[in-house]
């Protein structure tokens, strides 16, 4: 099963005279269960590609199929539904809702998906156990350490059993030890069969992934296929 399939994906910001070509014809395929690291220096188009792959933005041209669904022509509301159903985001800054409890933060994607209250509760609690912080359900994000917050964010990303787990510099705000733990969690999730796309600028982190995709000036510069480690 192919999770990501892009053909000639192009993104242009601005128009005519001062147009900026952020992406110039990306062809990228990711199979189910892959752990892919997307690397590249700043300005290489990483963020733009991630936004399009995460259905936060639409390409200017080219096609993109996510989990078998063509998304390049969808409306805002349809994209929101796709994000809700198929994509789990993990951000560098965690992006938890500061005034909602941990449990509610994890419940939120299920809330938008219309999962009944009891089921939501049960699954959110289950997810918190899975990421290793079962006892923090009623705390507010402010009371948690960075590593714990990122675990909550991962639990939230997994809430609707997404086809694709999209992590943008997930260890960027953590110290190296905590960062290692979080990366360990990603590896574990990968081992359980999740498809993970990790955006980073750190080659040592990229090395953990089964596959590296390097972006430069809006094009895939170098893709080295490696043997899947685990």
């Amino acid at each position: 099963m192919r999770i990501i399939e892009t053909r000639d994906l192009t993104k242009v910001y601005g128009s005519n005279g001062n147009a900026v070509h952020a992406l110039c014809g990306i062809d990228l395929d990711v199979e189910q269960g892959e752990f892919v690291a997307l690397i590249g220096p700043s300005g290489s188009g990483k963020s733009t590609l991630m936004a399009i792959l995460g259905c936060l933005d639409l390409p200017t041209a080219g096609s993109y199929a996510l989990d078998g669904r063509q998304v390049e022509k969808l409306t805002g509301a349809e994209l929101a539904a796709i994000r809700n159903e198929k994509v789990g985001f993990v951000f560098q800054q965690y992006n938890l809702l500061p005034r909602a409890t941990i449990l509610r933060n994890v419940e939120l994607p299920m809330l938008y998906a219309g999962v009944p209250r009891k089921e939501r509760r049960r699954r959110a609690q289950e997810l918190l156990e899975r990421v290793g912080i079962p006892d923090k359900a009623n705390a507010l994000p402010g009371a948690l350490s960075g590593g714990q917050r990122q675990r909550v964010a991962i639990a939230r990303a997994l809430a609707n059993r997404p086809a694709l787990l999209l992590a943008d510099e997930p260890t960027g705000a953590l110290d190296s030890k905590t960062g290692q733990e979080v990366l360990g969690l990603f590896q574990e999730l990968h081992a359980q069969g999740n498809t993970v796309l990790l955006v980073t600028h750190d080659p040592s982190i990229a090395a953990l992934a089964g596959r590296r995709v390097e972006l430069r000036d809006g094009s895939i510069f170098d893709e080295r296929q490696q043997a899947v480690a685990a």
Binding site: L56, N84, F89, L97, Y112, V115
Partner: protein, 417 residues
Amino acid sequence: MKTTGAFRERLLEAWTELRENPGRSFLQALGVMLGVASVLGGFSISDSQRRQTEHVFARIGGIDKLNVLPTDTIYDGAPSALQSANLGLRLEDASDGGAVPSAKAVNATSILKQARARVRSEHADQERDVNGIGADYVPLNGYEVEEGRGFSAHDFASGAPVAILGAEAASVFFPSGDAVGKPLRIGEVPVTVIGVFQEKNFRFREGQQNIFAWRNKIVAVPSLLVTSRMNGDQYHRLDRITFRVPDLAAMANFSKELSSLVTSNHRLQKDFRLDDVQKRLQRQFSQGQVYNLIFMLSGVLALIGGGMVNVNIQLASLKERVREVGVRMAIGAPGSEIFKAFMTEALLLTLLGSAVGFVVGIVFSWTITKLIGVPLTLNGLSFLWATLMAVVFGFLFALYPAVKASRQSPMEALRYE
């Protein structure tokens, strides 16, 4: 959110948002509060006054009455034969009036024939107005017989020499308080007192004079007695005919038919006038409506002012919340959901503000009515109106920030620092 509990969830989120930002929420609710208080207060005060006036009229037999009164006719030169032959308002007008097609709506008819006469008892001798009355006069004018009995059908039909006195008249002519059964002389006619009316008493404010004092001076006898033995008027001319028409819609029709009937009875001469009590009162009330309008307007202005403050506060807070909106969008909230969340917050804020506004409005109108000495009347409708207006303006002014929030691109919202 697609589940049935979606609104509840939104309400919960909105409540969390308001509770976590008490200062901001208070400022936002302030305009709503003042507006609601003002609208409610205005309504309550004018309601209380109207209720008081209605109360007065209820005490004198209701306002659903149509009076027919004779007018003084001024003839241009010597009156013509036709004019001289005209007999004015008579008993026939009352009985014919009760027979027009639309008279179904009439549920009581009273007639009045007045005379000025010397009234004498063992204790007093005074010049008084004597009211010769018809059958329904007593209930139509809110009188109640307290001692003795009322007039019987036989009394009215035969013009029996009997009288009923108002409380004041009874105490003047019979200071010892045993009027019933005593003889009284009205002009040259000896009559027997058969009853005494209950005292009528009404004061707008404590310590003010009794505005119904004149009603206690009544000396009532059957109208036939006045026309046959006091004025020597064989034509039964009357000073007033009153019809009670409880159905307001039927009143207009009846008054038209009655007018044309009496005109033709009177050989096409306009020697009478109709006085629709309800209409007259409505004219008076409509002057009071001006104050209602002023309060209402100030309430609306407060709501608009508060609404504009809300727009500003919402837009400012949107900057703090733009990232949060981005996160919600990233995890699957469509723009419509963001819109609904903002609107729910506005609704909650409006309702909370209204609730506080109710309390302030009630205290406000209670104080004012206390000052002007009128009992406070609270009308459910005014609460409804005040809330309705607050919600309408609350929604109207919440629209812009809510639309702005919901139209953000999730990408840019997430990147916002």
